[in-house]
Symmetry: D2
């Protein structure tokens, strides 16, 4: 499949550039007869949208979407649902310098080589984090479908730089806690950490620098038996989507890297009967065994690298002259992308889970 | 695509169960006219094969493969290359108890639900680590193809339990170092760590327990411009394959989770001209920016959880009676799967890279 | 893959409904740096557009497209190229009756069942022939790419009802003849047949009826070695696309069904050296052997059924009352869709060939 | 996807060469818990197997299959089912001449170009009709699955050369008639035609020539609502598979090419209520409208070209010397492949229908 579409029975195709006419997505495979709460979709979009507060780029984009197909008489038709988001706040200034001056930490150079210099270099073009807006749109729909099946998704910022929040309870947070987190700009479990994190971000901003962080995401209410061994393992599908999100450099399920330092007797989740159902007494494996859900909450962490765009001067090259130069990335950028990445990570979790359910080769037969 | 095939132009399809007649794979999309060093393939298979030493399960499997199609007159034909590996050392003992007694930490329960109790439960069936043998076979072919293009892959054990090796130099190890590591049972960079790791493994074994570890893998010689933004990012494709490998619970590229704690000015890899070519002066990003290679070494870590099969008694359930019970997993198993996982991780790296090259939508035009 | 996308490395995703906001397509996998003649694309669109003459529906649609992504500085960027075509001439009349009254010969009933009554029933919704507009758009781009490689595509109407044109010369028509045909409303080789065909169409129209026909399409300049045996045979890929076009009910390559009545000695194309190259002295096989091109012109015929929408009264059912009723399809429709199907068939030929070239597992290595 | 696998949730991967060690297939996506009648599978295999009578090649191949994975305790496991068929009757004679002498009408030349001369040329290699044996195996399983859902598939020879049988009744033949046809070597509806067809075949054989024919295939019992508009239309999926079968050069659904000569009022299938269900009073469209089943019998014809291997001397080229030469194809071949193609066509119909059901994006939700 081409690199901008993902999924089998349920497919999402992304398109657009940061400074082109529009960005958007085609979602194919949604069941007919679904009705969406568009206000909630707009709220999700707004969580990701730029210009919301002092920690984010001042670029203002309403991220208003237009549904041009697949939704009729307040229901999905079963045919492709397409959403278009117009780019409205492109700066008209000359981007010519950016064509050849490669921003360190960005896809400028790798993309330049891949596309032979023909890529749209304005604002990162198709590599822009802006292309995650249609991803959030698609995820917002998936989230609503999953919620009707009793599945709730939420996440919090586990760390910004060296500032840490406490981790999710592996056995699962309540739906109220998870949903509640979606209303916070800096969602944390220990509420006083939000201010410390904000200080960390503004401190980096003050130094014309940026800072990274870790997002922890959880889904509760997933039935057992979703997913496949090997190439369609739940971890494979979710990590595939997660690493599609710009700036994600690490993904770990359950206790993740900590499992590597532990004993089997510590990491095996013992099983017990409870009210006639099978459950486990711990959840080190994050709800997935052999690539297949076991009915426990799914839990993963995603490492977000610090924003590559920084005001500090950096060494780089000019591809036109093939000489050394330096760059100080001006313009509008986020000193920390983590808060805006939270809804993207949740979107990807929702989309991935719905795809796994739809694509599952056996479930529901 | 179904869960047991992966790739677009270059596809690998896995099949088989631990105690069935045979396991194997079909590799479709190999260029015609390739000639393989089968002794090297056998060496790779042996690295993964059980029964090699005191740290591994005593189950003896020669893992001898038969090529039944796609190779003729000592060259690939361009049509599907199929390898069959007969299972020869299945125990004839009664596996009936395993049908209903779920081993904690294994796919027994999640697979039981998914397949409605029809899965082959003997030795883990299709979930067995044994199915990685054809993956190593396929990876061994991919490695040889890549080597001819100047690409070298190697890995070492970064940690077993709490015992650590030093990490790879991010700017790249030499081909000699990388190739040399493939000849070690416990490949490490600081040679004295091997014995300490071995002790850690045998100590866990002595306690009827198991221990996990982290593998670090590197590829040098990759040209810039491979991969795609978003869903076919190099990270997405490699992580998809890595999380297909049983027991992998975490994957991180470049500095991975450490990037989340750092500043942009620390993590952006500055660019410089060197002998007329563009290079970077550091490689925190692991050779991948915007999902596309930038010509620097690719580097990732994979967290391997401790073997789920342990002799210690554990709480579990019986799916036939739906009652609580306990289990002490007898039979043959590895106290630490990490050493045998090393060639699997390398195989997946090689396969992923060759798939990325083959599937690439633009490169080479 | 979902039903509205096709291709591997080069993918086309269609979306839209006849009376929705817009229709369009996302084309992913186009090489970067391609420059298109947009006037030619518009000409191709106009060939398919309705309301051009007395043989077509009077619905006027300019079919003006907007490129919203993937094209920058007069070149493809290498990332998804998306085109949006606004629907402008939807009638505002009440379509409520069409929701339940099934038009015979249309997808009304099969679609009603599939989508549980949630499909957009206005003007056929997503089943409308109108959705072939973005297909023609995509094909027009493919045609330009292929032309630069020396490949020319053309077609003519082999028959309308009982009126026949002479078939293409199997050994190939000239590029001039093939290109010339694209400028005709009723493209035929024996020029006097056009008028007779027109009379046949107007005669059907006069009887509130419709008439079908056969389109013959040819591509010259295809190198040998494209395609694959079995599931990616050139015939498989092209027929897959051809049967995606509404109203196509038969597809035959080379001498097609006539081959079934002949002897091997008559149908085998003898081979000869010519100017140092291999050629065949006849082309009964339509340029494809074993699913792979042999360098001779590709040639197929596609049978187009008569337009299902007719003014004549027909028996049908009402899905709301589940009772018998009758229908006389009013409104705007084509008495013969064949002339407007010609550019669609050519578009599909062009797209299919470019996909085969891009997806080919071996060619060009 | 690579050229030797087809399907999404249900996938079949083919492998093998005519004179290699073995041929076979991997079927992934079969539901767990299915039990097969292996004797019936063997009967299906025997219908296709060579050496059954005077009309077929005398090459004897038992086509005995070994199931090496995916079937346990007399049920499918839900994981890949793999079958291996050993080649046992390869002639040991020197095939060296065939390496360079291209047989007209075969894939020798197109395959030579594609695979750069590395293909296995013995007996046609991977292009051999022999590779349809695993296709028949897979189809035999699909047929049994479909039968349990009330779907019956059958076919007859509509013509051999100029000898014709009467066509199927478009409104459907009985299950008894369809099943009965599967027991005939030359399945026809007008029983006396079998002898005339046999004479036609032996007459061609007597002239060292071959003859083609048309197979008509029908499936009854298909529910309405299967399939998709556009790229996953039932016609697209079935034609894709049909044109994968060597020697198929034309495919037509319902009245096919005859529809092109008719009026809409003749071809639209009127709809009526019958016992509370919707039905049509005719079935010119072959059970498919808008790419989706309407509950009527599916019906298509497939044109099979005359066997390319003939004893008559033919002009050809030598790829080693690049000179003209002649060839008289000796060895074992069928004067008419149509009778042996019948079970292959049915297999493909069964597989295609099961794939459509499995892959369907909406049905059954």
């Amino acid at each position: 499949m081409s690199g901008n579409a993902f999924g089998n029975r349920l497919t999402v195709t992304l398109f657009g550039e940061s400074h082109g006419a529009a960005i958007g997505c085609v979602i194919d495979g949604l069941a007919p007869g679904l009705s969406f709460d568009w206000d909630e979709v707009r709220r999700e979009m707004k969580r990701r949208a730029p210009g919301q507060n002092s920690m984010s780029t001042p670029r203002k984009e309403a991220d208003a979407f237009e549904i041009v197909s697949g939704y009729f008489d307040d229901h999905t038709t079963g045919t492709p649902l397409t959403a278009i988001i117009r780019n409205t706040n492109q700066h008209s200034r000359d981007y010519g310098e950016m064509k050849y001056k490669m921003r360190p930490g960005h896809a400028d150079y790798s993309g330049y080589i891949k596309y032979g210099g023909f890529g749209d270099y304005r604002g990162g073009g198709h590599f822009s984090g802006r292309i995650t807006a249609p991803l959030v749109f698609a995820g917002a729909l998936a989230r609503q479908v999953l919620r009707k099946e009793g599945i709730t998704i939420g996440s919090h910022i586990l760390s910004i730089g060296s500032v840490k929040d406490r981790p999710f309870s592996p056995m699962g947070e309540t739906k109220e806690v998870l949903e509640g987190l979606t209303h916070e700009v800096l969602p944390v479990l220990e509420k006083d950490r939000a201010d410390v994190m904000k200080k960390e971000i503004l401190s980096a901003a003050g130094e014309k620098d940026s800072v990274g962080g870790i997002i922890e995401c959880m889904a509760v209410g997933i039935p057992s038996g979703w997913g496949d061994p090997f190439f369609d393992s739940v971890e494979s599908v979710l990590s595939h989507l997660l690493f599609s999100v710009p700036a994600v450099k690490g993904v770990a399920f359950g206790d993740g890297f900590a499992m590597a330092g532990a004993r089997g007797s510590e990491m095996n989740d013992a099983m017990r009967m409870k009210d006639g159902h099978v459950t486990t007494t711990s959840n080190h494996n994050g709800g997935i065994l052999g690539g297949i859900t076991n009915g426990m909450p799914i839990r993963f962490t995603a490492a977000i690298k610090p924003t590559a765009s920084i005001g500090k001067e950096q060494q780089t090259v000019n591809m036109s002259t093939m000489t050394n130069t330096s760059i100080s990335v001006g313009g509008r950028h986020d000193p920390c992308i983590v808060p805006r990445a939270v809804p993207v990570i949740e979107a990807v979790m929702a989309l991935g889970l719905l795809m796994i359910q739809e694509d599952d080769s056996v479930y529901g037969k």
